[in-house]
Every structure is written in C-alpha cells, then in structure tokens.
C-alpha cells in the first residue's frame, strides 16, 4: 500500500469519525425548558381630519349666483380602523340650515345658498341631513367603503366654495358682513 492510499484511508476514516460524532451529538441534544413571553400589541383606532386652511372670504355681489370663495381648502382624512367597520364618510355641515352665515342683525344666508364643489365635481348646496349638524344643513362630501385593504388609509377632498344669492329673498340681502362656521367631520361606521 503506497503513501497515497494510506493518506486516502486516513481522510476517509476522519470523515467517518466526524460524521459519527456529529450524529451522536445530535441524537443526544440537551434542551432547556421552553420559556414563554406573552406579547400584547395594541394598534388603536383613529380617524382624523386635517384642513389645509381654516378661513375663506367671499366678496358678494347682490343677487348673483357666483360668489366664489377666496381659496380652496383640502381636507385630508386618515383612518386606522378595526375589522368590522364598513364605511367612512366625510361631511360638511352648518349648525343651522336657516342661518349658515348671519350679519347678527337678523339677516341670514341659509345653508341652501352655500355650495361646495368637491374635487372639482359639481357644486352642491348643503341641504341634506348628515351625521352631524342641523337638519338639512349638510352635505356628504365622500363615502368610502371599507374593505380589508383599506382599513388603514386616507383620502383628500379639495373643496371649492360658492355662495349663490339668487334664491328666495336673498336678492334682497342687505349689505353687511356675514359670518358663519362651516364644519368638516368624518365618521366611520358601524
């Protein structure tokens, strides 16, 4: 048997020894007891509305239909909801249908004369009863169906405003400064 064969046999023997040792060690593995750690992670529900601005001015022309607001306002609605919620709505509303804006002297601009165009859509008056505010003093800007893929999501509503002074007695609206508060609010249901 030459030196090459001897070396080969030594290598084979060593490999067999290593494999055998490894197998033996695996078979005799010693384990500790399993120690559990309880994990509790809470992702709270949230629903928020942020506005790009909080004031709009109007320069009124008596009896005219087009009295646009000085600026558009974007409402960004964001939500993180639990399973089971099916809808998110965004509403604009006044506290009174009869007196959305008033001069404080008994002269009022009703909510029916106040229009909003949402995301460049058609202008619509605030004449509906929505989840918030007074009866017939609101407008639903958006309704989002909630599914598994959008329980954590957001949307934006860019609102353009107009006051239409052509209806009813509004052509006779006296000159004055009329002020009011328009509210934007979101609701997730059920």
């Amino acid at each position: 048997m030459n030196h090459r064969n001897i070396a080969f046999l030594r290598i084979v023997s060593l490999a067999v020894l290593i494999v055998g040792t490894t197998s033996l060690a695996s078979a005799q593995a010693l384990n500790s007891g399993a120690q559990p750690i309880a994990l509790n992670a809470t992702l709270a529900e949230s629903l928020t509305v942020n506005l790009s601005a909080n004031a709009v001015n109007f320069t009124l022309a008596a009896g005219t239909a087009a009295n646009p607001g000085s600026t558009n306002i974007t409402a960004t609605t964001a939500w993180v909801l639990k399973p089971g919620r099916t809808q998110v709505v965004v509403d604009a509303y006044f506290a009174s249908a009869a007196a959305a804006l008033t001069d404080g002297a008994g002269d009022n601009i009703p909510s029916s004369a106040f229009y909003i165009s949402d995301n460049a859509g058609a202008s619509a008056p605030l004449v509906n009863t929505v989840a918030f505010g007074a009866a017939n003093a609101g407008l639903q800007l958006a309704s989002v169906a909630i599914i598994a893929g959008n329980r954590n999501a957001n949307r934006t509503d860019q609102m353009a405003f107009n006051i239409n002074l052509t209806g009813g007695t509004l052509p006779q609206l006296p000159a004055n400064t009329y002020t009011g508060t328009l509210n934007i609010q979101a609701q997730a249901t059920p």
């Binding site: 384990n31 992702l43 639990k82 598994a148």
Partner: protein, 187 residues
C-alpha cells in the same frame, strides 16, 4: 550440684522459648479480608433558562418601523455539561412565521416584523429556521462554544423588542397577541 545445674538450664531454655514464642506471635498477625465500598457520584447534565419577565406590551403606530416593546427581558442561561458537548445555543422563536401575533380575526403580524436586539446589538427579525418552533420563525440569540473550562457556565441575554410595521401599512386597528418562546439547546 547436677540437679541445680539442670534446673538452671531448664529455666534458661524456657525463657528462650517464651521469647521465641513472642516473636512467632508477631509474625502471624491476622488480617481480615478487604471489603470494598463502591462509590458513585453522579453530577447530572443540566441546562436551565430563566427570564426576568414574561410579558411585553407594544403601543403600535400604523405603518411605523419603530414600535418598541414596553420592557426589555433578560434570559439567564446556566449549564452543567459532560465532556463532549461542543455548543450551547439560545433561541427565540414563534410557532408560526405567518402569525407571530394575531387579532384573532384573520389579521396577523408575521415573525419577520418582530425584531430582537440582543445585548445591545442590532435589531434582527425572526426569519430563520432554528431547532424549535415554526419554519422561518426563529432567531439564534447566542451560541457558546463549550471547552473544558466552561463545562459549567452561565450567560445572560438582554433582549429588546420592536415591531416593524413598515411592511404592514394596512394593518387594521386591534389588539394583537402572541407568544414568543426562548429555549436553549446543547449539542
């Protein structure tokens, strides 16, 4: 005269015999058989693990990468081993990689979003297959090479926890619960 001489010789002879008998008695000391007592002391192998606490809470922020656990937990491992052992390894694992934590309504946080920093090291997700738990649901916290000098030994692993929700931007609100298990194996 003859009788007297004879008597003296008899006395001397008797004395000699007594002395000889005494030496002979010493040479014949009597021993019992050796009774053996078999001694057997067994120091069994052991490996134990204890945790400084058993619960961690997380206040999650949607889509955020950093949602740290409320507390760190230290795992203290002790071992007494036979010669021939080569390594002590500490593992953290979940039983399932897909649902390490769940809200019970089908919404899950996978083990790949659960991270551990061991002894101040980098945060690492539980994405490996280890001797315990589900496939791709574990992390080896430590591996100690065993030599003659540390057949008895201890080590401590202080674990900080984090839930990375950056890959789960649509996770719904809810309470997610799960069980992380720490276990040690000696080979």
């Amino acid at each position: 005269m003859v009788d007297r001489f004879t008597t003296i010789r008899a006395v001397v002879a008797l004395g000699f015999l007594c002395t000889l008998g005494s030496f002979s008695a010493r040479a014949q000391v009597l021993n019992s058989g050796a009774s053996t007592i078999a001694l057997k002391a067994n120091l069994p192998e052991s490996v134990s693990l204890s945790l400084s606490a058993n619960a961690v809470n997380f206040a999650l922020s949607p889509g955020s990468a950093a949602n740290p656990g409320s507390t760190s937990i230290t795992a203290a491992t002790s071992w007494t081993l036979r010669p021939g052992r080569i390594a002590v390894s500490v593992y953290a694992f979940f039983s399932s990689s897909a649902s390490a934590l769940t809200d019970g309504a089908g919404d899950n946080i996978p083990s790949s979003s659960f991270q551990i920093s061991d002894n101040g090291g980098a945060f690492t997700a539980l994405t490996n297959t280890v001797p315990f738990g589900g496939a791709n649901a574990g992390l080896q916290l430590a591996s100690v090479f065993v030599l003659f000098g540390n057949l008895q030994g201890t080590r401590r692993d202080t674990m900080n926890f984090n839930l990375n929700l950056s890959a789960l931007p649509n996770l719904p609100a809810g309470t997610y619960t799960g069980t992380l298990t720490i276990q040690v194996q000696v080979i």
